[in-house]
Amino acid sequence: MKILGLSCFYHEAAACLLVDGKIIAASAQERFSRIKHDSFFPYQAISFCLEIGNIKGSSLDFVVFYEKPFLKFERNLLCSLKYFPHSSSFFVDSMKNFLTEKLWLKATIASKLKIDPAKILFVPHHLSHAAAAYYPSPFNQAAYLTLDGIGEWTTASFGQARGLKIFPQSEMRFPHSLGLLYATMTAFLGFQVNDGEYKVMGMAGFGKPKYCSKVKKLYRQAKDGSLKLNLSYFAFHRSSRQMYSTKFLQEFSGLNKFDLAASLQKCTEEIIFNLLEKISRQTHKQNLVFGGGVALNSVVNGKILTKSPFKNVFIFPAAGDDGGAVGTTLYLYHHVLGYQNRQPLKDIFWGIAYPKNEVRNFLTKKKVKFQKLSPNELADSIATYLTNGKVVGLFEGRAEFGPRALGHRSILADPRDPKMKDRVNSKIKFREEFRPFAPAVLAEVAPQYFQKINYQLSPFMLGTFSVKPQMAKKIPAVVHVDDTARIQTVGKNHPGNLRKILEAFRKKTGIGALLNTSFNLRGQPIVNSPADAYQTFISSGLDILVIENFLIEK
């Protein structure tokens, strides 16, 4: 059974190939097109998946899209009518998009992949998120919560999952959306919607939640957890170009942006933990699976086990719309077709890899001087460079799926140097000075450094946890201003060299942690090919580049 999952035409276009229940390839389109959050039809990601599977489009059993396009069309049309005469730009922009591409999606897929249109299926957006959260989890039953900006009409949903089945219970509908509340404040703070939300989360650590009462004017949460936005503060429901109204502007102009971010984060946490209370009461489950873009809020995630009634939690590492391409295949395979062989998630290295001879040819062609090292030499050599204060770009094996770099497309640096954070921010990644960096840490030594770690989340850098006070001084480059860190624990089964590098660094310094950030520059997608990696290397302040077992010094 070969199923191709697709997400596109909003943000984070992606493709995923599932063969007999196993995800054998998945990638976001942005990695190939080099356009951050590329939303167009994922031609290159599809080609990559089919190449890995060694199949043609016509031999796929099904192609599944991650939402119902006509329902989305209905929402856009009805909102244009409902908010007349303030919705002219919204109507023009959305109808143009729908009439030129989104409504013909089935025909586009059928013609591009040369597949029978009867094999093209559509799974509701929030069920795609729920499936991505549940089927790769280790649980046989769980409550689920999905929180997103917007799907078709749904903005939040919850229900239960048992065995192979997902049972959705309730939903909240557009325009009342926690994701859009967060996105609106993101836009107000000067960042791009669907991109800058994690920057707001980072800013929150620097501020004090002084303006919670002001933020609470934007919404009302009922006792049952449901959220109602005060639409007089918003414009996204009637405009495709403006997220907030003049009333919003009047309310928040002139306030300290860091305090505002902290207030929004605090209110978001309150809303989510109230929701989780309600879901726990209704479902009587101890396990939670959490999906949708809001599930990438690592500060919330790190507190779920301590501040909600749930005893276990699982979050799919690509919880946003790219992960919808995965969820939609799993939903079809398990829920609808009834196949039993669920595969708990081990890693997410589902992207493209380059053979060593191809890397060598590339470097030779570019006339780059390189050293070829054995795997043991490589780890030791990288650790030596790191202890000497060098910053290393590491490129190996298959690329990660999702927003986090977990050691295959990573930039590594010494976490002991207090100036390293500013150096990597300003000279290497060219990004805002307040942005924190995350540590990769040997799983067995992580409890020495961090408190209350949730090991279901930490291998994928999904949760933020407190740093022990006595340890914060030892790894200052990866400790956020509020003494927390979004950690990645690296266990013995981690594929690739990251584990060996951490061990070698620990032997030399006594510290089993490294600064690990994604291998990209500000505003660019994570590198995908040796050419991307080399381009990033020469156009940034990186000192060392390692592609597979080839080491290049600047």
């Binding site: 119902k68 069920l127 909240m172 049952d224 449901s226």
Partner: protein, 69 residues
């Protein structure tokens, strides 16, 4: 799948013109045809305290998933 070929400049210009034409057409539709329809959709937001509603999209069978709505 065939690789995407870059558009010629002329093609690019004609696409821009088509885009402007489409926007003008939709703008006219909005102001001339939408007003009577909008009267039917000018409902106030629900006044009830809870905004939860039951999940309604059927997604159990292949036939359900074939539907785009």
């Amino acid at each position: 799948m065939a690789p995407i070929k870059p558009f010629s400049q002329l093609r690019s210009l004609s696409l821009k013109i088509a885009d402007i034409e489409a926007k003008i057409f939709l703008f006219l539709v909005y102001w001339f045809f939408i007003p009577p329809l909008a009267l039917f959709f000018k409902k106030k937001l629900p006044a009830k305290n809870s905004l939860w509603s039951s999940w309604t999209i059927k997604s159990e069978t292949l036939e359900d998933l074939k539907k785009q709505f």
